[in-house]
Symmetry: C2
């Protein structure tokens, strides 16, 4: 069901010929209200795609009527022609839906530099077709149309207290911080103001997508949008809604991690005993981005020396000679020296747990990453050809 | 000839059984004077190996009589026992050479966590054997004994104006900033004070080893040592010496790049038009550390979008929509948009040139890196097993 699980939403996904495979590549999600509130967070990359430049402006009034998403082309670094394509896409959807173009967000994903006349014509035609096929059952089709190198669609639904949250996501490579690389649309029929939606969304993404760091690379097109229809008529308890929304985001983040390009291990890096949450995130991220550690995990090698070498590059508060490291429940390093033998650690399961105890405080953070594999190199060396 | 090319130096390299292959693994380089000046720069990683902790203290007085180096074990995170091993190694060499232990530097390289009783016994026996074999012809043997995953030794010699600089280096993986991962010993028979030696060494490493960033990982054991014998009796022109020393360091850095683990491309990233040299370095480094870009080069794919996505994550002064990118002489991106077609770029040669013009100033910097390959993943997933 994904984004059409909550009341008040219709969606569609169609094949507009942007993908050479002929698979679906344009999705539209529309909020039928009665509330038309939206909130969004964007990539922190300064190299922003045209749909990001457009959507950053469009979201300012906190009103979102619809989102148009395409795969098969990022429309990034395509010049003013590319920006006009995004603008025309929003206008086309707005005209067909009878709303203002300034309340239509646009998301694109695919190869950077793709956005010529043919791209524009296909996106506009796809938008028209998708609007014609809008349906309360369209959530699944929409989730398929935003896939790129994803091997499977990512969806989540949560219902409680009379309201529902639905969501879809795409993202399998370029997963990185300051938003893991992705397109995400989350819908809810709970009643929220624009200010509440924005606050809840930022709170949820900060501890979910922002802590997914598959390969340290940051996309130009990341966007997470929350659309609020209020169709349930229920004003949720703020804490309960934030918790549910965070749960949906964590669920999607885990799905993205589990489908990361070429990965053979999903690594959960838990940092405890930190002086601050910021320190814990910094330490976890330094390990998540260390190619030597990630290659070792691919080789089922519990190489804790590479963990210490990675965290030693940070300015977080800790003594490198007083750190404990656990892998899959086995303490392989204590107080900066060897502990249990490497042979005791079984790294063959896909799910991998790395626990780092800095022993200086009580703050914690969890970072999700993947190993560095032959398949990662293969997929990313052949992507644009 | 390497480190014994200048007058006043003897060296040796012996097999002490630290390497399971039986290849040479302990080297000693001794300064016979008359000057006994030294300077050294160390890894900026906070997780420092025991030989780094020792050598940082020993270099403080600017006097270096000898350097003992071993491969086959990093003696890092091996506790106080490991530090005592380093201390005993310096004392053993000092006793045999009739000098002060505080004037003997120690360098180790190999697997982190290696440094038990057997390691200690072999290092001490190897030191004794190497001192017994010291010779003015020992430079080549010494350069072989410090190799780890290197496929070939790295040596450089430069003579002019009556003085000579000789050098050896090891390093093939974990090459990274704030000193590319390596052990380097440089010798000269020029007459220099400790202060001059230190200043020249920092000036040379700043634009050579510090700009080699093969895989973004920073070692715990990096050390570059300059030993000054003054045996030529010639006090060099400071600018000429600094230029020659920088040339030697750049030569070695290129050798390290050319032998980086698993690499199939040596990528020279030249950033021009920057507002400051610091900005140019930051921008170059962001590309050197971007796995998606590095995998694309492995696949001979001139994916300039990944270049812009990488530099967009920095805070350097530039407009992402006013940047030019050249690959192997072909301008593939201009003003943040597509220029010449990808097909015009031939990325099959190992030597790869990436030129980024930020168009905001006149500062430049060059960063050396490698591509991300199947072989890199393979070598680093199997290293400790």
């Amino acid at each position: 069901m994904s984004v059409t699980a909550p009341q008040g939403f219709v969606a569609a996904g169609v094949a507009a010929g942007l993908k050479s495979t002929g698979k679906p590549d344009v999705a539209v999600v529309v909020n039928r209200g009665p509330v038309k509130v939206g909130a969004a967070v964007f990539t922190s990359n300064r190299a922003k795609a045209n749909p990001i430049l457009w959507s950053e402006q469009a979201i300012r009034d906190g009103v979102v009527e619809a989102v148009v998403l395409n795969s098969g082309g990022a429309n990034c670094f395509t010049g003013s022609f590319g920006f006009q394509t995004t603008h025309q896409t929003a206008e086309k959807a707005a005209e067909l839906l009878g709303v203002s173009a300034g309340d239509v967000l646009v998301c694109s994903t695919g190869l950077i530099g793709t956005g010529d006349e043919i791209f524009r014509a296909k996106v506009l035609a796809g938008t028209e077709q998708a609007v014609a096929e809008l349906s309360p059952d369209g959530g699944e089709a929409a989730s398929l149309a935003i896939m790129t190198t994803d091997s499977r669609p990512k969806r989540a639904v949560r219902s409680q207290d009379g309201w529902t949250i639905g969501a879809m996501a795409k993202g399998a490579g370029m997963l990185a911080p300051g938003l893991a690389t992705m397109l995400v649309v989350i819908t809810t029929d709970a009643v929220l103001t624009a200010e509440e939606a924005d606050r809840h969304l930022r709170s949820a993404t900060r501890v979910s997508f922002d802590r997914l760091d598959s390969d340290g690379c940051m996309s130009t097109n990341d966007q997470v949008t929350l659309m609020v229809s209020g169709a349930s008529g229920v004003s949720p308890d703020p804490a309960a809604f934030r918790e549910a929304l965070t749960g949906v985001c964590l669920d999607l983040a885990a799905q993205l991690q589990g489908d990361a390009e070429g990965a053979s291990h999903d690594i959960t890096i838990e940092v405890v005993g930190a002086a601050s949450e910021e320190d814990a995130v910094t330490v976890g991220r330094s390990v998540a981005r260390n190619n030597l550690f990630k290659a070792a995990i691919f080789g089922n090698d519990p190489n804790w020396g590479r963990v210490l070498a990675a965290i030693g590059t940070t300015d977080a508060a800790f003594d490198p000679y007083d750190v404990d490291v656990w892998m899959n429940g086995v303490r392989v390093c204590t107080a900066g020296g060897p502990d249990r033998p490497r042979e005791d650690v079984d790294l063959t399961p896909r799910a991998t747990q790395l626990l780092i105890d800095l022993k200086v405080g009580s703050a914690t953070a969890t970072i999700l990453t993947n190993d560095l594999t032959h398949d990662y190199v293969h997929e990313n060396s052949a992507y644009s050809s």
